[in-house]
Structures are given as structure tokens and as C-alpha cells.
Symmetry: C2
Subunit: 181 residues, 2 copies
């Protein structure tokens, strides 16, 4: 079951997340297509398992970090790690952070993992003095903007992501100034 999901990720990397077919997946795992229905009730159930798995991978990655004491440096490492994770695998990026499959919505259980990740980021930003929810939104949007631009236009490069640390500093400074005038 876990190995089927792993094969599905391989397939997604080569064919695109929307290019997965149950026939192709079955071939990858050495089965016939109908046998997959023993493991997933539907194709969307497969996507849901992948969504949960991808988020689990991300949380694992973040668990492996030892975050600096300095909250601002912690935010930077967190965001750089996120960027690296996302740029490793375009299909995973799409499934976790965009809505690439019409008709697919993650189940509440799978979505909880995604919220857990977001909550960790927000906590770090709080510790770094970014308390206003609007300022949190801005930092999140800026990081997403850089990472998306990198992924769409030059995955593998760093034309956009090399600005990450500097912009995070800029926005944290700005947020702190606004909250203590």
C-alpha cells in the first residue's frame, strides 16, 4: 500500500500529477488495473492517500531540522527547507499546494496534516515578532510567490529563491515596525 503510493509518485513525476492513470500505475506495481481497487476505493482515494503522504514527507523533513534559537533565523531555515522540498518534485508541489485535479478535494483527515504544517510556520513567525495576521499573510504570500515563480520558470535554478532570506528579513523588519510604532 505504501509502496503503491511510492510508485504513484514516480509516475506523477514522469507523467504529471494529472497524467496518472490506474492502468499505468497497475503496470508500475506489477498488477492489473482492477486489482488496485483492493487498495483504493476510487482514483480520488489514491490522490487523497498521496496528498496525505506528501504532507507527511514535508512534516518529517521539518522534524529533521534543528532550528536555530534566533526566531528570525528559524523562519528562514523553515522557509528555505520548504522551498527545497517543493522544488525537488513538481508533481508533489502541485498536489499539495495547488488544485490540479478537478473534482478532487482532500479528505478532512488528510487536510489536517496540511494545516499542521501551516500552523508550524505561523508559530515561528509569531516568535519572530510577526503577530498581525495581515503580516503573516504577506510573508506566506511572498514566499509562495518566489517559490512558484521558481518552480514554473526555472526549477533547479535559484533565480527567485536566492532572494528568500533577504525578503524575509525585509518583511519581518517591516512587520515589527508596524506593530511597535
Amino acid at each position: 500500500m505504501a509502496s503503491i503510493v511510492a510508485r504513484a509518485w514516480e509516475l506523477a513525476r514522469s507523467e504529471g500529477i494529472g497524467g496518472i492513470t490506474l492502468r499505468a500505475l497497475a503496470r508500475q506495481v506489477g498488477m492489473r488495473q482492477p486489482s488496485l481497487y483492493e487498495y483504493f476505493d476510487s482514483k480520488n482515494a489514491l490522490y487523497d492517500a498521496m496528498f496525505a503522504d506528501g504532507n507527511r514527507q514535508l512534516l518529517e523533513r521539518l522534524d529533521g531540522l534543528d532550528l536555530p534559537e534566533d526566531p528570525r533565523q528559524a523562519v528562514k531555515l523553515f522557509m528555505r527547507t520548504l522551498a527545497e522540498f517543493v522544488l525537488e518534485d513538481g508533481a508533489r508541489h502541485q498536489l499539495l499546494f495547488q488544485r490540479p485535479i478537478p473534482g478532487f478535494e482532500p479528505s478532512p483527515a488528510s487536510f489536517a496534516h496540511a494545516e499542521e504544517f501551516l500552523a508550524r510556520g505561523v508559530d515561528l513567525l509569531h516568535a519572530a515578532g510577526v503577530r498581525d495576521p495581515g503580516d503573516v499573510d504577506c510573508v506566506v504570500a511572498v514566499v509562495a510567490g518566489l517559490v512558484d515563480a521558481q518552480a514554473s520558470n526555472d526549477p533547479g535554478g535559484d533565480r527567485w529563491t536566492h532572494h528568500l532570506d533577504r525578503l524575509i528579513d525585509l518583511h519581518i523588519d517591516h512587520a515589527q515596525q508596524r506593530s511597535t510604532p
Copy 2:
């Protein structure tokens, strides 16, 4: 022909850009599906016509502006207009600024319109003192980040876009400081 494209946009708004089928489009225009092949050689040719049309709409919208003398205010108006344009129509946003249709790439002729738009934005940023290409990338990514977040999570609202002016100021100031140390 122009009216077929207009109907295609209606369809895209209700069914999603990827949810267009030639049958449904034919029904909308009061034809049978094969008759559409008189106007478009393939489905991707339809998408290409829509891509060109969407960019034409955007350029038209920008032509209608009278931009303030102050270059910084001009940038803000330009970006606000872009945001408004994008948030009006999620399907158009997808087709013009994302890669929602596997296998579809705009033709060079259509793509030229998109580059024209980008060039206008970059010119304005130059006039506002954002000359370093890296700084241009940052402003573009920030605006895209805010607009995408708005479109994905709350189209119709302004939770993210109401930060546009402030962040543009922040980034222009920052770029100017960096270029004249």
C-alpha cells in the same frame, strides 16, 4: 469567430478552463460539434485563440488607464488593475498565467502579447527606480503571490490584495536603497 471565443469564455467560467468540451461549446453557439472545425483546427487552436484574446483584453484594459505622472503611483495603479482583471475571472487567470492544459503551449504569436504586457510592467518599474533585474523579479513575484493567494482562497474578497500598495511601496523603497547605497 470572435463570438465563439466569447462563448468559450462563458463556458470556461462555469465549467473551468479544462472543463470545456467542443460539444458543449457547439451547443452554446448553436452548432453541432464538428462544425467548430471550420473555425479551429483543433481544440488547442481554440485555447490559443482564447489565450491571445485574454491577453488582448488585458492590454486593452491597461490602455484605458491614465497613469499618474508619479512612476510609483503608476506602478501601483498598474498592479491594482492587473489584480482586478485577474480576480474577475478565474478561468482567464488560469489560462493566461498558469499551465492548466497539459499539452497546450501558446503559439509564438499569442505569446508575444503576453510578453508585451510583461514589458510594460517592467518599464514602469524601471521608471520607479527598480532597475536591478533581481528586484524586478521580486516585485513581480510578490504581486503574483498576493494575487494567487487571493484567487485561490477568497476570490471576491481583498484579504490579500489590500496589502498590494503597501508592499509595492516597501519593495520599491528597498530596491532604491539597494541601488543607491
